[in-house]
Subunit: 339 residues, 2 copies
DNA sequence: TTGTAAGCGTTATCAC
DNA sequence: GTGATAACGCTTACAA
């Protein structure tokens, strides 16, 4: 069933059929009704390939989600949809693997159909540096800071990971802790890993706390198992510590289990704080202290900035959104007599 | 950059360019190299709309993933990719929200491009009943049993939820438990919920165990919070039990926290078993006993059945894959003196 | 081995 | 208001 068939059935030409289907003016009420009816009766569906091949103007906003099974993005997306529902812009969401190149994917999608602008949920700064110059639409990168790249059409809305990590360390220091270990992401591979690590160290320095990275830090992947293994490795070489800083909740969970298996209790023997604010955290025993991103704000500002770029143009913005510290049961004031 | 531009640049015609790009025979080595080079140099990417608009035959298998942020499907997909990597069939993965209609989405996608067959990761039997007749490709529904629908082109590979639930209850009964409560999905809304519930009851009957569904069963949503709330509700009306059957690990986690907040310990006071086998489960304290689907087998058989239907045709198959029981720390033998 | 041209299902620009 | 008709970028006979 094509518009040609529809034209034949109704006795009108393909031009008129197309005009009716796209709600263009200059069609008689009679033609409109006849064609509308036939379309419904036959269950006509336009061929999107032909449509996109031809169509020049855009109405849609593209959302590129990097990491299909990422809870943070799931929440973020829901928020974005909420904020954009009020506008007249439909959303097209494209999900991809963690390890695909989100920028090249966007380039590809832009060739396939026209968009007004792009929201990137997550992204790798390297990919942007290399390929973003091929995109000429207003874009917002969410959860990463893109200010260093200074592309004229790329804004970013993110959480200041360095500050957030500093805050986590500060909180534990305020509880009396002085002996730390860090279970983090690989500083070479992950921007996030590097920034959070720097934040912790900054806090240590400000409070005159000794820290030996070669002994008391592990840079691994963001997974339960890696959190478990890294902690076990720290324990096995006999490191003494009263607080463990994990750069992700999943790592913190693995770490807590490793401590348990080593006969150490959280928070009595070791305080643990994570990162991300997974919903899960507040059901665990003990409830997991953590730092979370402010998803609602992140979503709201991203939408505002993108719509503004689309409608008004102007220079790109790079905005940091305040994070949230959740002090929960997995941290504990260090008793004086403990050490 | 179009094939026309490529033709102009290399001095060949669009026909030759197209033939080179699609690895057709009857092109001179010289032309092949020249055009290949130009394509790489200019970063040429074919326009998929034009390609699909024209192309008649299919080479690709479509995978429709229902529920973007579902860990089970994440694992399943990885397995599927592994098994299909050996074949000559590329995969096209389409992710969608939990609440979209996966069948209509597939219908739509089939209009956009040609596929050899479809793998559905998850699906709602109602949607299939209503709309699947519009799909005429060989299909396999994974994780749900579609035998009752008897479509000539729809196979299914699934886990027998009823048996699995029975097995979970049997295991706890073997540990001496007699007083159960069930925290499950809504029996009206969810096939899975209904089947698992029936499995539990069947086990109860076989062992002569009294069970009052109006008092000792809660049908809610599959979430931490709903597991927590349902358990709290059971406790608040004073139900006495030594074992809690949860129809999902997330519910079990919520339940364990609710028990804890009520002063009850797992497994000392109450044994808990979940469903799904989330990786998380083995890091929890206590490690969560659970029933999991055999992801590898599910993936392997799905691929085998689909490829067979594509290549040989034949009648659809409906195969149940054995589940896996993981007895872990959250269950406990009931001491004689306890009751 | 290569070029030419028809046509996939649309939209958009003309005349009428 | 409406109907021809030329694109859009590609594949694929068919001719050369």
């Amino acid at each position: 069933m094509t518009i040609k068939d529809l034209a034949a059935q109704t006795g009108y030409s393909v031009g008129t059929v197309s005009r009716v289907l796209n709600h263009h003016p200059n069609v008689s009420e009679k033609a409109r009704r006849a064609i509308q009816d036939a379309a419904i009766r036959t269950g006509f569906q336009p061929n999107v390939n032909a449509k996109n091949l031809k169509q020049q103007y855009a109405t849609t906003i593209l959302v590129v989600v990097k990491g299909t099974f990422n809870e943070l993005f799931s929440e973020l997306l829901e928020s974005l949809q909420g904020f954009l529902a009020d506008t007249r812009y439909p959303l097209h969401v494209d999900y991809m693997d963690e390890d695909s190149n989100e920028v090249l994917r966007a380039v590809q999608l832009c060739r396939e159909r026209k968009y007004l602008g792009i929201l990137f949920l997550g992204g790798n700064i390297q990919n942007f540096k290399q390929d973003f110059s091929r995109i000429h639409l207003p874009c917002v990168l969410i959860t990463n800071n893109a200010s260093s790249l200074s592309f004229p059409n790329l804004s970013s809305v993110y959480t200041d990971d360095r500050q957030a990590a500093r805050c986590a360390a500060d909180a534990l220091i305020a509880l009396g802790h002085r002996q730390f270990v860090i279970v983090g992401g690989d500083r070479e591979l992950s921007d996030t890993g590097r920034l959070r690590y720097e934040g912790y160290l900054q806090s240590f320095q400000e409070h005159g706390i000794q820290f030996d990275a070669t002994l008391d830090y592990r840079g691994v992947r963001f997974s339960y198992q890696d959190g478990y293994d890294a902690t076990q490795s720290l324990l096995s070489i006999g490191r003494k510590f009263t607080a463990l800083l994990a750069e992700a909740d999943v790592m913190a969970i693995g770490a807590i289990r490793a401590l348990w298996d080593h006969g150490l209790r959280v928070p009595e023997d070791v305080s643990v704080i994570g990162f991300d604010g997974l919903p899960l955290g507040s059901y665990l025993i003990p409830q997991l202290a953590t730092i979370s991103q402010d998803v609602k704000q992140l979503a709201r500002r991203s939408v505002e900035i993108l719509l503004n770029s689309i409608e008004q143009g102007g220079v790109p913005l790079h905005e940091s959104i305040p994070f949230l510290l959740h002090q929960r049961e997995s941290t504990h004031r260090l008793e004086e007599n403990h050490n």
